[in-house]
Symmetry: C2
Subunit: 255 residues, 2 copies
């Protein structure tokens, strides 16, 4: 994070966009083996539960990081534009919004939403990664905070792969369970377009461009590290850290 290479010259906005997309092609978490297992139906129910439980914490902190960014944005126009994200995740009324829909998913895979909301069974590595994202957005420049959201450029691809495959491959997963993802297919591109255009317009020095690329790499690390931790605890070697959620069907792989 603190180290990023600075290119020899200032990139054009199009070159910067292309470099950002290149990071996604190399580091976005659709490439992680945990997602390949999740989508292809190869996970036991307890492993899908562990994914839903841990990812809940990420979902729950998205409005926190968005509010931290809004608090630092200088104009009503910018704050208004970013505020749509709060509405998307927190909703307009009880039971609406992305977090509430994620809790439906949690319930659909057989977990008690209150247990998940307590974060008692959370992997510490999930907490550390997600909190790192909130701190990053709270402490770094506005430009870096906005750039770190750009993984949304790549999320429609993974959702388009996830939803039909999970529906086909797990008999206990229904369209209602996966309802979280439907609005994301339009929200994410709208948000990513705004953030990308902001970044292309405001990252005009070599240092700013390097910082923007590093911010997106950092965010890819945040997502990737969560899947590493899931894979380690629940797939192979299957060593669940002390205190974390233990699925009923857990099997420790021979190390």
């Amino acid at each position: 994070m603190t180290n990023f290479s600075v290119s020899e010259r200032v990139m054009t906005p199009e070159e910067l966009e292309s470099a950002l997309r290149g990071i996604g092609a190399e580091r976005y978490h659709n490439l992680h083996p945990f997602h390949k297992l999740l989508h292809s139906g190869k996970l036991r129910r307890g492993q899908v539960q562990a994914w839903a439980l841990n990812r809940y914490y990420y979902q729950s902190q998205i409005p926190v990081k968005d509010a931290a960014l809004i608090a630092r944005l200088p104009t009503p126009e910018l704050r208004r534009a970013w505020r749509t994200r709060l509405v998307d995740h927190d909703g307009d009324a009880p039971g609406t919004g992305g977090i509430a829909r994620w809790l439906k998913l949690v319930e659909g895979v057989g977990l008690d939403p209150a247990y998940v909301q307590s974060t008692e069974g959370l992997l510490p590595a999930t907490r550390f990664a997600v909190d790192a994202y909130v701190h990053f957005v709270s402490e770094r420049s506005i430009l870096e905070g906005i750039a770190s959201s750009l993984t949304e450029l790549f999320s429609p691809t993974i959702i388009a792969e996830r939803v039909p495959n999970m529906l086909a491959n797990y008999d206990y997963i229904t369209k209602e369970t996966l309802a979280y993802f439907t609005p994301r297919l339009t929200q994410a591109p709208r948000d990513a377009e705004f953030a990308l255009s902001y970044v292309k317009q405001h990252a005009t020095t070599r240092e700013q461009q390097a910082a923007v690329l590093a911010a997106l790499r950092f965010k890819c690390d945040v997502l990737w590290a969560q899947l590493d931790a899931l894979y380690f605890a629940y797939v192979s070697p299957g060593l669940i850290p002390p205190g974390a959620f233990v699925p009923e069907d857990h099997v420790q792989a021979s190390a």
Copy 2:
């Protein structure tokens, strides 16, 4: 972290100490399989390098978290007592102190200290866990900040196991390479005694006692998560995250 159970009644200072020691007996990272491999000579050189490289980042941030705590301590007496930790880790002159000794270890296992100091090859999960510790000490109560240092109660045991075993089991590791650990055998008990006595004296309500126990659990999680990440990336399944250090002798286990 935000969730901790509060006991039915206030514990005596001795009961609190015993509960703290119980957490160590269950969760301290001497119990982690990565350490068993490290000490028994079962790691390849590249795996020992990955350990030294990642643990360097932890070492480098210890004075940062200690300074963050000192900045919040209210009296010269307390700040003076805690200042000895800064001296231990940062030294009194170039080349002295714990961080410099850790860089000797890094060199002794065949890594370029400048590369390690750049943190370029660091596992993101290491950064997230260590930064979580710094943030915890900066943001939580002084009592929790002090309690989170109490893993030092348990470190002499692991050092007494580590040093002779690593010397016996790896021919390229010398006493000079492991010089970091020698002063820790006296520093850690002195520091832990101070912190333990502070905590026993100041955690006088059920809520404070619960917070103190949660702080030590949190710190055990910080240490444990670092070993989980090392094991995942470098032992099994051996999936190194994008951008992290790749040892020359790396072998990916069959998943």
